[in-house]
């Protein structure tokens, strides 16, 4: 099923090594997205974070949520949307190599140029992080 969806890099303006979404799992246009990121020891950001104790930085989990949100609106816009607000971010559990991070985002409001999302991330069905994400053109 997921082969139906385009690669994130075809929609997002980001590229390696800063694409934090491996693939789109579910997608409802202008509504909701579910994405996947396999966290691996090869991810560069784990090299020094932390010494002998690799943990995915919370800021990059937020970035993954922002990218997932960007995918919701990004497919037919030619202009760039930038992250303009993060609200009530919570990090409940460390994300470590081997984890499959499921990133969800739902568009809850829009008033051009502002798009407001509720986003979350989970591993094995357990919520590891949540935040309000706003993007603006």
């Amino acid at each position: 099923m997921s082969d139906l969806y385009p690669f994130p890099s075809e929609i997002l303006p980001h590229s390696y090594p800063f694409i934090l979404i491996d693939k789109i799992v579910e997608f409802e246009e202008e509504k909701r997205i579910v994405c996947l990121k396999n966290v691996s020891n090869n991810d560069e950001f784990l090299q020094g974070h932390f010494k002998n104790n690799p943990v995915m930085p919370g800021s990059l989990i937020l970035e993954a949520m922002a990218q997932a949100s960007g995918l919701i609106i990004g497919s037919k816009k030619s202009k760039m949307a930038y992250l303009c607000r993060v609200k009530d971010a919570k990090f409940r559990k460390p994300v470590v190599p081997g984890d499959q991070l499921i990133i969800t985002s739902s568009l809850i409001d829009k008033l051009s140029p502002l798009y407001i999302f509720e986003a979350g991330a989970s591993v094995g069905g357990e919520v590891v992080s949540e935040a309000g994400i706003s993007l603006s053109f």
């Binding site: 303009c84 609200k87 008033l111 502002l114 706003s134 603006s136």
Partner: protein, 83 residues
Amino acid sequence: MYDTIQRLKELLVTRLKLKVGVDKIKDDTPLFGPNSLGLDSIDVLEMIIVIKKEFGVEIMDRETSENIFTSVGSIARYIEENR
């Protein structure tokens, strides 16, 4: 009118996470600039969405929003007149 003003103050503080108590906001406290609540353009867009949801009042164009987003009192007047 009083209820509208009170509700607007609560919404400003809770939705925009202002670091100020509801009772510290006066009806004519400026929203922008020095000695103001320190709102920015993104805050205005958020408030337009909130006002539509809470009061059913739409603020459609830029000129209107520039005119009414000066103080809590001016927003409340617009809401009362357009309800």
